[in-house]
Symmetry: C2
Subunit: 216 residues, 2 copies
Amino acid sequence: MATQTKPVLHGYFRSSCSWRVRIAFALKGIEYDQVPVNLIKDGGQQLTEPYKALNPMQQVPAVEIDGVTLSQSLAVIQYIDETRSGPRLLPADPKKRAQVRMISDMIASGIQPLQNLHVIQKIGAEKVQWSQYFINRGFQALEPILKQTAGKYCVGDEISMADICLVPQVFNAERFKVDVGQYPTIQRLNQTLLEIEAFKESHPSCQPDTPPDLRA
Amino acid sequence: MATQTKPVLHGYFRSSCSWRVRIAFALKGIEYDQVPVNLIKDGGQQLTEPYKALNPMQQVPAVEIDGVTLSQSLAVIQYIDETRSGPRLLPADPKKRAQVRMISDMIASGIQPLQNLHVIQKIGAEKVQWSQYFINRGFQALEPILKQTAGKYCVGDEISMADICLVPQVFNAERFKVDVGQYPTIQRLNQTLLEIEAFKESHPSCQPDTPPDLRA
């Protein structure tokens, strides 16, 4: 492992999917380099040919690691978990693993894709109501499930990929002025998780590409 | 395992996410019961209170298995893979596993959520163009990735979760009149996979709830 080079995260400070990967690296204690991809500037740097070669979906994040380039944050997180030491990001018990993946996918397939930048740009004038609708629909489903699965964290008392997905989604919800207080379990978990160093240091308010006026 | 009851799949013949789970059960040789949830009839049977108790997202599939209820098809498929014998649905090599998950999520998070029934009902009159746009965007990204990862199947020469996701997505693409011939690798993989018994017996054209006029 001595010759291994640091992973490179191509991401954007405010992208919730980039934040997921930053949390995973932080929880595992993995050093990595960040290459900012500004989704707004120059019409979107993710649309350039060099970036398209890294991630043909023209989305962030893309991660160069161990000689391969991976996109899709949950694939990256599980790869990190399966190849690096440090705290597990998925529980050992198969049923709990399934619950972690279910909650993660409720966010990663059920909510985030419907309120991401490219989609709401296509929605146009109705984009805030559209995003609020799909975030609320997802949170209304997450709340009763988390009520059953949660201990201190989303599934039991160990931090997992589900927590990694939850916190950035709550951040998005707040940006779209969703009243997260309607979802007491989600709110409680989010507040607990935001106290943890790995979630703090990876926060959109303190990344290399965070604009000065948005810094914490 | 002798006392184990058969898993129950709550699904819909034409739902691509239900089909994914049916393929996984078939590949593993697992017997299961199907409970049809008609997404059209009565305004959508997934919206009823009894179904909402099973899956608060009010989507199919939901699977009752080993005393738990799981939604989100990739969580279900990976649970089956981790708890049942039979052919692996994810490769043993961590990099190949990551590629399988990346391809699966490009479909399950990057394409399908944007063209599913509930979303296109909200889009209204533009729904066909909307769906074609997002399917083409996803396939334009999948094609160069699959060109690199594919052997006989999506990743190398073993059937995996990526194949389980690809075939139902191509089926959706054809329903929306996307010209799949633009994507030669996708088309070749789809044709190869459709020859396999597990993909045939799980096909939307031959399920218990397939209407007579849509039967193969």
